[in-house]
Structure formats: structure tokens, C-alpha cells
């Protein structure tokens, strides 16, 4: 029985992921294009919101990803701190900018939708505010990675920052609830059938979400492998200079 820790070996990780990459990338493209076309053209308009509701197929998946990518970084940071597998730290590093972009997409599509619906681009609503704070956390995390030259030191420091940041991000999430009343509606998607949106919207949304997840996986694979190669090149160059 193969253990998941085998993939801590960069070579094994690269071999496997490179075989997987075309599959994941094609699946991501199919799901994204299929889900979005389905959502945009083959679902009925909402009877009050008209066609603006269709931005939901980008907004909801990107918002979900923005939060879940931070969660993935938390897990990989923990693995790095406990088991010191370099691939894990590199995956966290590779995921951060994608998470930041997802946060921006969620904020931007939300603003575009909010202008006609709420009559404002931005409101200091708890959800909106906590997303802005999450974005600041991503920025700080990436800035710390960029500022430190030694790779292992950077991995250690950013991992601890990710752990502490997670606690404070959660705290902020509930603190802003306390601070202001919400304008944002509750969650539209739910595993509970009663609370969920109608099936016509649910299936294309599921496909779009799958597309975003697959896209994220493909991007992380590419970025992690690039970073592994860059490190190898640096090591080779250093060896040549010595030799």
C-alpha cells in the first residue's frame, strides 16, 4: 500500500503530478467552460434579479476557493513544520497568490453585482469586510515569503505566520459580525436540500465549482514543479561555482 508521504520525495511528486497535469488541466477547462456556458445561457433568469444573478457562477466558486486555499495552506504549513517535507512548504507558497487572486475575483464580482442590486459597489458588511481582511492576510504572507532569502527560514516563518494568521482571521470573521449588521444574504448553497438553491441553478454551479477546484489543482502543480526546478537549478549553479 503506497503511503501519501511517498510524494514528499520531489522526484516522485513531479513524476506523478506531471502525468496527472494534462488530465486535470483538460478537466478544469471542460468544467469551467461547460459550467459557465450552462450557467450563463441555459438557466432561467431570476424573477427579481434578472440576469445579474448569473455572476453567481463565478462569485460563489471563487469565494469558496479563497477560503479553502487558506485552509490548504494551513494544512501544508503544518506538514512542513511537523515533518519538514519541502514539497509541502512549496505547495503552500505556490497556493498563496492563487488564493489572493480568488479573493480579488470574489470581491470584484461581488461589487459588480452589488452595484445594480444593492445600489452600492461596496458596503462595510461583515462578509465583505472579512474578505478584505483575508486579502490583507494573503498579501502579508506573500510579502514575508518574498522578503527572506534563505528558503528554509522563509518556509518556517511563513508557516508560523499562517498558523497564527488563521486564528486571527477566524477571530476577525466573528468580530466583524459583532461590529456591523450584514447586507450580504446568507449562503445560497447548502447540503441541506431545503435550504439549497433550486436544482436548475445547483447543477451548473456544482460544475463551475469543480472547474475552479481543478483549475486550482492544476495551477498549484505547475507552480510547485516550477519552484522545485528553480531550486535544482540554483543548487546546480552553486555546485558549479564551488567545483
Amino acid at each position: 500500500m503506497a503511503s501519501i508521504w511517498e510524494y514528499a520525495n520531489p522526484l516522485k511528486f513531479m513524476r506523478t503530478t506531471e502525468r496527472l497535469l494534462p488530465v486535470v488541466a483538460v478537466a478544469a477547462a471542460v468544467c469551467l467552460i461547460g459550467g459557465l456556458i450552462w450557467g450563463f445561457f441555459f438557466t432561467p433568469d431570476d424573477f427579481r434579479q434578472g440576469s445579474t444573478v448569473k455572476i453567481f457562477y463565478i462569485h460563489v466558486p471563487s469565494a469558496m476557493m479563497a477560503i479553502n486555499i487558506w485552509g490548504m495552506m494551513l494544512v501544508t504549513s503544518l506538514i512542513w513544520l511537523v515533518r519538514r517535507h519541502h514539497v509541502s512548504a512549496l505547495a503552500a507558497r505556490a497556493a498563496a497568490p492563487i488564493g489572493a487572486v480568488m479573493t480579488v475575483i470574489a470581491l470584484f464580482t461581488g461589487a459588480v453585482w452589488g452595484q445594480p442590486m444593492w445600489g452600492t459597489w461596496w458596503a462595510w458588511d461583515p462578509r465583505l469586510t472579512s474578505f478584505l481582511i483575508l486579502f490583507l492576510f494573503y498579501l502579508g504572507y506573500m510579502a514575508l515569503w518574498a522578503a527572506i532569502e534563505n528558503d528554509d527560514t522563509a518556509a518556517d516563518l511563513t508557516s508560523v505566520l499562517c498558523l497564527v494568521g488563521s486564528v486571527f482571521a477566524l477571530l476577525s470573521r466573528y468580530a466583524v459580525n459583532f461590529w456591523n449588521q450584514g447586507l450580504h444574504q446568507g449562503a445560497s448553497l447548502s447540503l441541506d436540500k431545503e435550504e439549497n438553491v433550486a436544482d436548475v441553478f445547483w447543477y451548473p454551479a456544482l460544475v463551475a465549482i469543480a472547474g475552479f477546484v481543478l483549475l486550482f489543482v492544476a495551477l498549484v502543480i505547475v507552480r510547485t514543479n516550477t519552484e522545485i526546478r528553480a531550486r535544482r537549478t540554483r543548487a546546480l549553479l552553486a555546485r558549479e561555482r564551488l567545483g
Binding site: 498579501l139 502579508g140 527572506i148 508560523v160
Partner: protein, 218 residues
């Protein structure tokens, strides 16, 4: 631990190490705000709690990089790390020294600055209380940020970027206490939350800071 605390305090007071600097910065912000928004008493009174809290937060931020950087440069941090006192204790006492040199003067001076901001009478008790319970959290969280960036040359800007998001919950509850006080509502729950954040940060964060310092001293 006491000796370290006394040393840091003496350094802060005598060597121009930020004591008084934070206070002056606080004063300048409070003086500048009325120029920006106009001298109307009602408006100033309404925004006073928030301005005082943001000013206190920025004044705290100003002196954060001094917590470890001087000791890191001249090597005394290495000595402290090898001393019998655990590094967690070093971090905690340095954070406490920072609070005594920066946070406590702000708390004591807050009523005077509140006067300048024409804070309504009911607000004085809550603003002092909230600053008293909230500024320790600012120092402890700041010490974590300072420990993260100690090895980076000119890390001041990065330090602000890392620490400010961590300050959000403290600021929210602190300003909420003061605002509710001004409006004459009960401010018990946010005050308890604020105290909870301060004590939890004081109890837990030195471990993270010490872990980070060990990496930086490697």
C-alpha cells in the same frame, strides 16, 4: 526576567528608544484630525473613540521594530537565547516592557487627548478602560510581528503589513467599547471579548514568537 524588564525599560526611557515618541505621535494624530474633518464639536465627539483607538494602534506600531532589532544587531539577543531563561520568557518580558513604555503612557494620557477630541463625558471611563485592557494585546501581537521580521533589513514596512491585519479584532472590540460608552449603552460584552483577546494573546503568542525567534537566530 525582572532584570531584563528593568533593563529594557531603562533603555527605552534613557536611550531615546521610543518612550515619549509614541506619545508625541499620538498627540500629532489627534491634532491633525480636526484639521482634516473640521472643528465641529458634535462630529469630533462622535468619531473620537475610533480616532483615539486608531491613533493608539499606530503609535504602538511605530516602536515595534525596536523590540528585538537593536538586541539582534549587537548580539545580546543571542546571549539572551542561550541564557537559562526560556526564550518564551524573554519574549514575554520584552512585550511587557514595550507595553509599559508605550501602551501605559497612552492609557494615562488618553483622557487629555479625549478632551482635545471633545469626547462626551460618558466616554472617558470606557475609553481608558478599553485602552487599558486592549493595548497589552497590541504589544504582544506586535512582538510576534517584530520577531518575524527581525532578520530582515529595513523590515519596518513589512512589519506593518503583517501586524495590522492581526490588530483587526482588538481594534473592533476596543473601539466598540468606547463607542457604546459614548452612546450610553452597556459595554460589557465587547469589554470581556477585548480582555479575552489580551489575555489569550499574552498566554499563547510568546510561544509562537519564541519559535520564530529561534528560526531567525539559527
Amino acid at each position: 526576567m525582572m532584570a531584563l524588564l528593568r533593563r529594557d525599560l531603562t533603555l527605552a526611557v534613557r536611550a531615546g528608544g521610543g518612550f515619549g515618541l509614541g506619545l508625541s505621535f499620538f498627540l500629532i494624530v489627534v491634532v491633525l484630525v480636526p484639521f482634516g474633518v473640521g472643528p465641529e464639536t458634535a462630529l469630533l465627539g462622535r468619531i473620537a473613540p475610533g480616532i483615539l483607538w486608531v491613533a493608539a494602534l499606530l503609535a504602538c506600531l511605530l516602536s515595534l521594530d525596536r523590540i528585538f532589532s537593536l538586541d539582534f544587531e549587537d548580539g545580546s539577543l543571542d546571549l539572551l537565547a542561550t541564557s537559562p531563561l526560556p526564550l518564551e520568557g524573554v519574549v514575554a518580558s520584552k512585550a511587557v516592557a514595550h507595553w509599559l513604555a508605550t501602551g501605559l503612557p497612552l492609557v494615562i494620557a488618553a483622557p487629555v487627548f479625549a478632551l482635545l477630541m471633545s469626547l462626551p463625558q460618558e466616554g472617558y471611563g470606557p475609553i481608558v478602560l478599553s485602552l487599558l485592557l486592549g493595548t497589552p494585546a497590541l504589544s504582544v501581537i506586535g512582538a510576534f510581528g517584530a520577531a518575524l521580521t527581525v532578520g530582515i533589513k529595513r523590515g519596518g514596512l513589512l512589519l506593518s503589513l503583517l501586524v495590522l491585519p492581526l490588530y483587526v479584532p482588538t481594534l473592533i472590540f476596543g473601539a466598540e467599547v468606547a463607542r457604546r460608552g459614548v452612546e450610553g449603552q452597556g459595554y460589557g460584552p465587547p469589554l470581556l471579548m477585548l480582555a479575552g483577546i489580551s489575555f489569550a494573546a499574552l498566554a499563547l503568542l510568546p510561544f509562537a514568537s519564541a519559535a520564530v525567534l529561534r528560526v531567525n537566530l539559527r
